[in-house]
């Protein structure tokens, strides 16, 4: 892959310009250690060294609430329009890029594509940004620590501690023609990285590799989960879990939703979908008050099973990218990786 160089000043100029033609969202600080994707204001306000946003970028293609259609009293049905401008997400980390790729697969599955996802996705451009892992990241274990594709542009910041230096340079890779178009003729004039700079990029990658503190061997997970469905661990987790659903809502690949109707005063109605979470009590409840997963232990086991086994069997790979959000967000400290580690360690037959 060819790697181009862009200076900090050029990057700022480019983002200033881009925000005039598209809806540009960037990682912004929103309190101590908290970040969100927010509309671009000024370059100085965005945080290029953030670790993870609270909500993953899925909200731009699969919003927490979305009107599917409005129905007038006459029966006339209309589908709300999207904003006129395309949406560019700047600063997406590899785990989240991989998360969107998983969503792409899922929302086009079974020859029954999700129209609402597809139309938002067709209008989304993704600009990636390199990162260094913290103590909750295990994307490397999930093979999601780099993004081979799934971005239009990708920026490497190999000197993230140093944001203010005037000479600061970012490395840029083009993923698609859309990326080139976004750069608006810059790509043809930006210089290519010199061999020693590529060497520095490689060193950065190695430094990043050794910075991971969490590790998980995904190859044993399916067996560990399938063979230990009756493990007392699930009951313990069921007692610890509050069924708050935060781990699912914050997960870049969790996609469950409800559909409900609302009414307006004029006799019209709307059909709306909202995020749901499989940890909620009513998730598998059907009419007649029969609940297929009445216990929290069953629901938490179902979540783990689905993400590491069920999804992989249906779609070829697990639906976890190792972003660490569920670990960071869980109010009772349930730790995705530790759960699997203990399942595998305690329960798989060990050689004597």
């Amino acid at each position: 892959m060819r790697v181009l160089k862009i200076s900090r000043d050029q990057l700022k100029k480019w983002l200033d310009e881009l925000s005039g033609t598209v809806d540009l969202y960037v990682p912004m600080p929103a309190g101590k250690q908290v970040h969100r994707f927010e509309p671009y204001t000024t370059f100085e306000e965005l945080d290029l060294s953030y670790t993870r946003t609270v909500l993953p970028p899925k909200k731009f293609v699969f919003p927490p609430e979305e009107v599917l259609f409005n129905r007038a009293p006459s029966g006339e049905t209309t589908v709300p329009d999207l904003p006129a401008r395309d949406l560019v997400l700047f600063g997406v980390h590899p785990c989240d890029i991989n998360g969107i790729r998983i969503l792409d697969t899922f929302f086009s599955s079974f020859d029954k594509p999700d129209w609402y996802y597809q139309r938002r996705r067709a209008r989304l451009r993704i600009v990636g940004l390199s990162c260094l892992p913290d103590e909750h990241c295990f994307c490397r274990s999930m093979d999601c620590d780099s993004a081979a594709s799934g971005f239009d542009l990708f920026f490497h910041d190999i000197d993230p501690e140093n944001q203010d230096r005037g000479e600061k340079v970012f490395f840029v890779s083009l993923g698609t023609v859309e990326g080139d178009i976004m750069l608006a003729d810059r790509a043809d004039t930006l210089p290519e990285a010199e061999p020693e700079e590529l060497e520095a990029l490689l060193e950065y990658t190695e430094r990043r590799e050794s910075a991971y503190t969490l590790d998980l061997d995904p190859s044993i997970l399916p067996q560990a989960i399938k063979l230990h469905q009756a493990d007392p661990l699930w009951d313990r987790l069921g007692e610890q879990c509050l069924a708050c659903g935060v781990c699912s809502l914050g997960c870049p690949t969790c996609t469950c939703f409800n559909i409900r109707d609302t009414n307006d005063l004029e006799g019209g109605s709307s059909r709306v979908r909202n995020w749901d979470a499989c940890l909620y009590r009513d998730f598998a409840r059907v009419a007649g008050d029969h609940n297929f997963r009445p216990h929290r232990s069953e629901r938490i086991q179902n979540r783990y099973y689905h993400k590491q086994v069920g999804f992989a069997e249906a779609f070829g790979k697990p639906s976890c990218v190792g972003c660490g959000r569920c670990i960071k967000l869980c109010p009772t400290g349930i730790h995705f990786v530790e759960v699997f580690q203990s399942l595998a360690r305690e329960r798989l037959p060990v050689d004597e």
């Binding site: 599917l68 259609f69 129905r71 029966g75 049905t77 589908v79 899922f106 929302f107 599955s109 079974f110 029954k112 594509p113 999700d114 129209w115 609402y116 597809q118 469905q229 996609t255 469950c256 939703f257 409800n258 559909i259 409900r260 109707d261 009414n263 109605s269 059909r271 979908r273 749901d276 499989c278 998730f283 598998a284 409840r285 059907v286 009419a287 007649g288 029969h290 297929f292 179902n302 099973y305 689905h306 086994v309 069920g310 999804f311 992989a312 069997e313 249906a314």
Partner: protein, 287 residues
């Protein structure tokens, strides 16, 4: 690309309370254009706009084109709204969804169909399908049970077919409410009680069943005891459904979605996915 969440307007041609709380509904698309192709075992999503939407099995057979028939039990908000509709009213429909019964595989074989309560609704579609295609299937046996004789659905329909199919009924309690008392004698019990002796060619018999969640494990073990091979046993399952197209996640079981991979599942699916049907606490029921 098709927006699979949009509903089409359909008109109710007939709606009738056949037993208390259970409404027979016949429908066709309001704009003409005919009922889309469907297969026994599939379901449609039916909407009353402003109230909501629910999955409902087809109860008619594609061999009788022109209208779509359903039977809806009033249990909650949406089904109550449907119960309040009249002929000429419109509802929203999308579908058909789901896999349907494996008709190609079933052809040429005997069928044993087991229904508990409302479970007769999807099986009626298959019964009528088999009856309308004489020679395509072997002997068709229907074993149908309900709480009381007053709760049996489509009973005149089914008894009218006694020349073509072998139909046996059982209820837990005989109230004398229906004109069928002589059919029961003094015998009361569960539909699974009808299974012993019902299968004459176990290697050439497909079983299909639909009933309340507790019913499957008993029905499956009774069928296996009759010598039926596991791969010949099918079940129609219910789960909470919102989307019908494998997206909302509610109907997920193991690695399958009931709305696209089901609602008709084979015995082996249940074997591999313990969550699929309810099992006895701590007891391996699989033989």
């Amino acid at each position: 690309m098709n927006n699979l969440y949009l509903t089409a307007d359909w008109t109710i041609l007939e709606i009738r309370e056949i037993i208390p709380g259970h409404f027979f509904v016949s429908l066709s698309p309001s704009g003409g254009g005919g009922v889309p192709e469907y297969s026994p075992g599939q379901f449609f999503q039916i909407s009353v706009h402003g109230i909501g939407e629910a999955p409902v099995s087809v109860s008619s057979s594609p061999t009788r084109p022109g209208t779509l028939e359903m039977c809806i039990r009033k249990v909650g908000r949406l089904t109550a709204a449907i119960a309040g509709l009249r002929a000429g009213n419109r509802v929203g429909i999308r579908g058909p969804f789901g896999n349907g019964f494996p008709l190609e595989r079933m052809r040429g074989n005997d069928l044993v169909l087991l229904a508990g309560g409302l479970g007769i609704v999807p099986l009626r579609s298959l019964v009528n399908y088999a009856v309308d295609l004489p020679g395509e299937f072997g002997q068709v046996t229907v074993l149908y049970g309900a709480g009381t004789d007053a709760q049996l659905l489509f009973i005149d329909d089914l008894l009218g077919l006694s020349r073509d199919i072998n139909i046996q009924l059982i209820v837990q309690e005989i109230t004398g409410a229906g004109p069928y008392e002589e059919r029961f004698g003094d015998r009361t019990g569960f539909v699974t009680d009808l299974i012993p002796g019902s299968v004459t060619r176990p290697t050439r018999t497909f079983a299909a069943m639909c009933g309340p969640p507790v019913f499957y494990r008993y029905a499956v073990s009774a069928l296996l005891a009759e010598g039926l091979s596991k791969r010949l046993v099918y079940m129609s399952l219910e789960r909470r459904m919102e989307c019908g197209i494998g997206k909302c996640g509610h109907c997920g079981v193991g690695y399958r979605y009931t709305c696209v991979d089901g609602p008709i599942f084979n015995y082996w699916d249940a074997f591999n996915m313990p969550e699929l049907i309810e099992m006895r606490e701590g007891e391996p029921w699989i033989s």
